[in-house]
Amino acid sequence: MTGTESCIISLRGVTKYYNGEAVLRGINLDIHDKEFITLLGPSGCGKTTTLRIIGGFVTPDEGDVYFNGRRVNDVPPYKRPVNTVFQKYALFPHLNVYDNIAFGPRLRKVPESEISRRVKEMLELVNLRGFERRSVNSLSGGQQQRVAIARALINDPKVLLLDEPLGALDLKLRKDMQVELKNIQQQMSITFIYVTHDQEEALSMSDTVVVMDTGEIQQIGTPEEIYNEPDNAFVADFIGESNILDGTMVSDFDVVIFGRHFECLDKGFEKNEPVDVVVRPEDIDIVSVEEGMLSGVVTNVTFKGLHYEIIIDIEGFKWMVQTTDFWPVAAVVGIKIDPDAIHIMKKSKYSGAFGDYSSFSEELDKLSELEAQPEQPPVEEEIID
């Protein structure tokens, strides 16, 4: 995917200030042809701003944007070969479905007969056959969403920008739309630049994921890379559940946690370098104290359908384990961790910010995610430039 494909959009050193604060800092990003690339991160991380810079609605304060090698900083949106699907769809309420979709081609003076054919095609593509004369106000959220997509795609863009398009839909519909969007992208061989804060969405749809926080890119990689080999504690915590601990790399393939040596698959660190250690809850086995590498007490058990989420207190650190076996509260148990379940990361500014599940509950989890970020202004709305 990388390197050999042509790189059609590039950002170099893109920085944007809002009210004196930097919302984007030195962003360097390469986007390739026919790629489904997702900008992923919490609110205020700058992902939407980045998207709008690519779309031309926001001008960077520093840095450059290149389309096929050509610098486009000053090119206005209506001259850029990209189309956007807006978060709240931005359908024109005074036009019906047909006229909304036909808007772009009509501006380019495409003949009506041709427009009629292509609108039909688009409606087929998004599963809205027969909706031509409907008023957009009478459509449901999901239908409006698809009209917005059709309206953008009919212009045959090489790149489609999508700004959290599925945010307002309910869960089932969202999952269906994710599949549809991925199909459309592959069918039409277009580059999709997708923005979301939902990591599951990002992992399931993307070829490449760009994880962002507070205006900086934290990691770029395939969904597997991001999940299995997070670069720092932020990425490890944002994607999926993780137990993040302090450890020491005694030597290659050997890390010490809680005073005990664990075999792992990572190398290349300095001797005795302090590191962040990530262990995913689903990779931990709960066994008897004798068989375990560490032992502790079960403090919390929650049934999640797919599995149980069990919190184990080991020397004060609350581990989360996901397993299909039930273990009762107050049981004294051991845990077993295979070498390939351990992932070592270099210490970063995020070390210590996340860690264990001491105040565990889903809502608190999301709250602390938001608290961990400094107060950001509602950047996404206010930059109308």
């Binding site: 779309g55 609605f57 206005p76 949106p77 209506y78 990209v82 189309n83 956007t84 807006f86 978060q87 709240k88 769809y89 931005a90 359908l91 024109f92 309420p93 005074h94 808007f103 772009g104 501006l107 380019r108 008023s135 009478s138 309206r151 953008a152 212009n155 709305e381 109308i384």
Partner: protein
């Protein structure tokens, strides 16, 4: 309790419509009196069409209302768009405060202040007799503007903020994108503002009184002049007709609205 409310409501409405009833009644009075009713007659309606001064005043009023509301609508809509896009808080607040001034200021102060401005201006250029059609037009546009702006602004706030961007994203240059994407959506607000401006202008007396000259009389001013002496009932006839016209118009609007609402509720599938 319910009957008390019914009676009370009826009394209030009787109070509200009493002078109107009297006016309508006396417009059909066969004798020239507002005390005694002599008998039913259409004479004042005929007189009305011979009363050139009144008819001229009516024509003036209509022309003034049309022009001033049109100009106010154009300038006011543009102003609302500009205000909505304003970023500096203080500029926006000051502009909105100034917009409120003509609405909260008593009419007599507005009228007097504009008159002073015109008189002062005339003195500066050594002109005389400045008050006439142009001064009253300026005055009408001035008091119409706030109502247009305050009708359009809320609509601008309600619409999807990305509509104009969406149009641009699809290839529309900025100015065109406003007219194709935003304007049709705020049109109800623009129309409401225009209609409001028109009606305010039609009925204005106090401000017109101070800013108009002898050659350009509007209907309210003509009526004032008449009420200084004796009112001939042809004015009552004119008022009755205006009233009837407006009544019919409002009924028509209401019926149309009711019908379109019925259609809307059928449409939801």
């Amino acid at each position: 309790m319910k009957t008390t409310i019914r009676i009370y409501t009826a009394l209030v409405f009787i109070f509200l419509y009493l002078p109107i009833a009297v006016m309508v009644l006396y417009s059909f009075n066969s004798i020239n009196s507002t005390g005694v009713f002599g008998g039913f007659s259409l004479r004042w309606y005929r007189e009305l069409f011979r009363d050139t001064e009144t008819l001229t005043a009516l024509r003036n009023t209509l022309i003034l209302a049309v022009i001033s509301s049109l100009v106010a609508t154009v300038i006011g809509t543009a102003a609302a768009v500009g205000i909505d896009k304003m970023r500096k808080r203080w500029v926006k607040s000051v502009t909105l405060a100034v917009t409120n001034i003509p609405m909260v200021n008593p009419e007599i102060v507005t009228g007097v202040s504009m008159m002073l401005l015109f008189v002062f201006g005339a003195r500066l250029v050594n002109a005389s007799g400045v008050l006439g059609f142009w001064t009253i037009l300026i005055a009408h546009i001035t008091f119409n503007l706030p109502y247009v702006i305050l009708s359009v602004l809320p609509k601008l706030r309600q619409i999807d903020p990305h509509l104009q961007e969406a149009a641009q994203d699809l290839g529309c240059p900025p100015l065109k994108s406003f007219f194709l994407a935003v304007f049709p959506t705020i049109l109800p607000g623009v129309l409401t503002g225009a209609v409001m401006a028109f009606t305010l202008s039609l009925d204005d007396f106090v401000i017109s009184y101070f800013t108009s000259g002898p050659e350009f009389q509007t209907l309210p001013i003509r009526i004032f002049a008449m009420t200084k002496k004796r009112v001939t009932p042809d004015i009552y006839a004119l008022s009755t007709m205006l009233f009837a016209a407006i009544l019919i118009l409002l009924i028509a609007i209401n019926v149309l609205q009711a019908r379109s609402e019925k259609q809307q509720s059928k449409k939801k599938y």
